[in-house]
Symmetry: none
Subunit: 403 residues, 2 copies
């Protein structure tokens, strides 16, 4: 029996409330041998109390040595094997802005870019145009009509980012990125990675030609780069699989997208403590599982700013203290991956996790929530897909297997 079938068959309803708190990129590294990581350096009284009262461990999201993107990292935390279940960035973007994707739609991410007179890329992010400009450009491209019974929809995401959805019969999204990942060269032509994707690649070529014509008079953003093409295939829903009523509270489209991909109700938060807490309170009025996403820890890690990441971890901790006022039975804290400030990128290092619930074993260490203490945590080393079942079990939501 595969994992999902196992957990689906064992799902048991219960009157318990779960907080699933993902602090993006929370795991880190010491600045030098023997030093403290960002999480260990931060003052985190709430994390520490929950860790000492609960059980901790270290999570490998995908596989040894593999740094996960946000998509695979979250899919693993939602119980899906990220090597078997992949969702392209285009689909996540379209879902993330609330677009009503239908099975078979092909979606891609758009980056507005700046092209030189000779057609080569001068700036892959169009001078990082603001969201107002980006939204207006997306609206203009939404008018593109490719004919031949195909619907083409463009939606703005954030800043220089947008997404395009092609809807028609028999489309296949196995199309290569057009972003050359370099400046001074021309964008790549959309290329089918499989003969079945020839039609979609042709639509993408026609779309790009029309977009460049429409944007010709724009100074900063006169081109588009497409990436993360994928066909939308709905995943089994979280509610069906696990018998919970899940809500997602997230400030960024990407995380709203991955939540919608598994059928969560999405509450679009502002990037503030108040907004996250208020929306979680609202969500928990008619849901029993809150996935709350905290972004800035990852961003400061990618900036390479150790102290700023420490500060954001402290804000994440303070946010949790407020969220706890909403009376959860089980609380989980982890990240979708590590983002050490010294590494300036998502990394492969296992991610600290804590689970606080009514049936917790004690950890060997009482040193609070940190990478080193988690080595001897009661949960031990975990795969990403192990986290959710352990939380559901604490919440009385998994029945016994076999007689």
């Amino acid at each position: 029996m595969d994992r999902l079938s196992l957990y689906r068959s064992l799902a048991r309803p219960a009157d318990t409330r779960i907080l699933y708190y993902v602090v993006d990129g929370i795991g880190g590294l010491p600045p030098g041998a023997g030093g403290k990581t960002e999480l260990e350096a931060a003052a985190t009284p709430t994390f520490d109390r929950l860790a000492n009262e609960g059980s901790t461990g270290l999570v490998t999201p995908v596989a040894a040595g593999v740094a996960p993107g946000s998509g695979p990292g979250h899919l693993a935390l939602f119980g899906f094997d990220p090597l078997e279940t992949t969702v392209g960035r285009g689909v996540l973007a379209a879902l993330g802005v609330g677009f009503d994707l239908r099975p078979g739609d092909v979606a891609a991410r758009i980056n507005f870019c700046t092209l030189d007179a000779d057609g080569t890329v001068a700036d892959r992010r169009a001078g990082r145009i603001g969201s107002e400009v980006g939204a207006a450009l997306a609206e203009r491209l939404d008018r593109i009509d490719l004919g031949s019974g195909v619907e083409c929809t463009v939606r703005h995401v954030k800043g220089y980012r947008a997404c395009v959805v092609f809807r028609g019969d028999g489309l296949d999204g196995r199309v290569a990125d057009t972003d050359p990942q370099a400046i001074g060269v021309a964008p790549l032509a959309p290329r089918a990675l499989d003969p079945a994707a020839d039609t979609a690649a042709g639509l993408a070529r026609a779309f790009i030609a029309a977009a460049v014509a429409l944007l010709a008079d724009e100074e900063d953003a006169n081109g588009v780069l497409l990436r993360g093409f994928d066909t939308y295939v709905p995943l089994p829903s979280f509610a069906d699989l696990y018998g919970v009523k899940p809500a997602a509270v997230a400030a960024y489209p990407m995380y709203r997208g991955v939540a919608r991909a598994v059928g969560m109700t999405v509450f679009a938060a502002e990037d503030t403590v108040e907004s996250r807490v208020d929306l979680t309170r609202t969500a928990m009025q008619d849901h029993d599982f809150a996935f709350v996403h905290f972004k800035a820890t990852d961003s400061r890690g990618e900036d390479g700013d150790f102290d700023a990441k420490v500060e954001q971890i402290e804000i994440a901790d303070q946010t949790l203290a407020r969220l706890l006022e909403l009376d959860f039975d089980v609380v989980m804290v982890t990240g979708d991956h590590s983002t050490p400030a010294t590494y300036r990128a998502h990394s492969w290092h296992p991610v600290p996790v804590l689970i606080h619930g009514p049936h917790c074993r004690a950890n060997a260490s009482r040193a609070g929530f940190g990478e080193t203490a988690c080595i001897t945590g009661a949960l031990g080393p975990l795969r990403g897909t192990d986290v959710l079942p352990l939380v559901l079990a604490q919440a009385g939501r998994i029945r016994k297997y076999g007689a």
Copy 2:
């Protein structure tokens, strides 16, 4: 996606130098409850420093409770699942002596043995004849011509050991060993384990008959025992899979063989510190990955000589101190299995591992490199196949998975 496809798809070139140091049978046991293991008893300042600055863990090469042979132990360290990928001892022997095996060749190990007048085995190792005698005998058997379009080649390995390779159309190496594993009984006839191997079994019978005729006048070595039959099927190459330029420095044919099986360039070392260091220096002039094998720790463990194994671990540590002068970015130390002196054989106990690189988490213990300290190492418990990806990640050679 399977493991190898995953890591192949994520391989990223980098300008980093890796030392992959395998101290054979390094893991051990205390002579009595509560005592120190061989590794813990040894003075190993270099291992200890790297362990305290880096991350440690404990490796299970194959599966819980399973003592691996050298082949599976090394294949796991090279990233191959040793339950899916097997390479017969005959193939490893032929590769190990530098024979140019071609796909479809069938190879077997030869032990020269002593037969009594009635044809029963008197000594399975022919009085442990020396390499000079063994080499002369192998040369004599190399003249055997089996006709019918089959090439038959014999090469000496070491002491009483040699190997034979049959080359012809449609051969299949699923043939049972002829070594009865006992004295006073006749060698077994080569027996096909699958109808497809009937031809190879027949060739082996003809070869043995010809060998016994040629050796009739020899006192010590008048017979041959064949074992480890296998068909040569090339493995994916280490360079293709991981994007490194690998070299192997090993003093024993077996380890050269397993290195050649994955396409490493082999440097045949003498069994001395100087030779290992000199050849590694040479190898690193145009390679970026050095697999260096240290044998004597395993041999002294198999002898059951605790103190002699301690001494060899100290020599392995001193060798490492010298190797570090060659400027590696990432250093890994482990064994292919444990060989506790009290157990006198390969054992199933997890093997201490240390990885020293630029992005290491701290271990919970600062007690240096030893079995007990490794329990709370930052790498945690690992599968054998996890070691290489963690090393490649430290070396900046694995890209992010998914968006």
